[in-house]
Subunit: 199 residues, 2 copies
């Protein structure tokens, strides 16, 4: 004896989402069937709409509902600096800081030979195509993991000869964390990347 078929199907859909196990999928599906019918209809519509409308910016690869994303289309942004990130979520994370006013380039992944992802499988060539002389600096903001570091090193080797300044975001102790609990690699990177105190 199982739960009803239509509920089972909904559970199966939720369970396919990343990080959602069967138990959680059941909890979510039960919740949905108890939601106001109009809310469920809106949820379903917005899901289809998001899937249909959201695409990738033709310039930087960020998410967009237009041919070109809002950031690339913003003339007030500094077009001489491009920040290279792994995926569009990283763009959001950096934008939230309101610290960076340049443009982005979304790779759509990182080089990972073990997973069969080579340099040609991510948007490295389109990045090179954007270095038209107006770009003075490329900030490599891939994650500080093996793939992210390898990707940053690879791109750096490609771009440096072109006379563009290539920088890497700083790695170190996160603000608010305690040195005591940081891992050795992070501490080592923090010491390596130490900066002179101002004043």
């Amino acid at each position: 004896m199982e739960q009803t078929q239509s509920l089972n199907r909904l559970v199966a859909h939720f369970a396919k989402l990343p990080g959602i196990g069967v138990k959680t999928a059941q909890r979510l599906a039960y919740y949905v069937i108890n939601m106001p019918e109009e809310d469920v209809r809106q949820f379903a519509r917005d899901m289809e709409e998001a899937r249909a409308k959201v695409r990738y910016c033709g310039v930087c690869g960020n998410l967009s509902e237009e041919e070109t994303c809002e950031i690339c289309g913003d003339v007030k942004r500094d077009a001489s600096i491009i920040c290279v990130v792994k995926d569009a979520r990283d763009v959001q994370a950096i934008e939230k800081t309101h610290e960076f006013r340049g443009l982005y380039h979304v790779l759509g992944g990182t080089i990972s030979p073990l997973e069969g992802v080579g340099p040609d499988d991510i948007a490295i060539k389109p990045l090179l195509g954007r270095l038209d002389g107006a770009v003075k600096e490329v900030i490599l903001a891939t994650n500080p993991d093996v793939q992210g570091e390898a990707t940053a090193a690879y791109i750096s080797r490609l771009i440096s000869p072109l006379g563009v300044e290539v920088t890497r975001i700083a790695h170190g102790i996160p603000i608010g964390a305690e040195l005591e609990y940081a891992d050795e690699v992070t501490i080592a990177r923090a010491i390596e990347g130490r900066q002179r105190m101002k004043g």
Copy 2:
């Protein structure tokens, strides 16, 4: 600068689900917009369909797509025993054991004065209405928490005078768990509910 509007709306929908924070909602929404379009359409349709089709069994309160659920409609089940549970998920949990062949009664909650849930807010009266003489035993399978215990005690006081046997599911050390790590209340209940060894 924010992510696209249609994506934002999808994130908001996911974030309203129980146990899903904004970060997780974003991860899920990003995943959805990268799913095959047909899969998303099916997900959306199945969500609406489940919400529209799934209702509560008129007899026991279990989930059903018909007037009466499959369990209540199954003549091979033992109609002389009713197992009382808090919600429909508990029915699924018990059904999975294939141990119980009687019928169910879903309360749709437990008595909780602090949250303003009284005996009349859950399906206790409909339960009394089912005790027509054919029912010999009512098993109280509400959770072993304050509300579940209070609800079990309340129902027991109501039903016992009617000449129906009222039982409570056993509480004790879960199978596979170690006594050492069990809390005191569980251990106390396990000792209190000790049973004679067979053979």
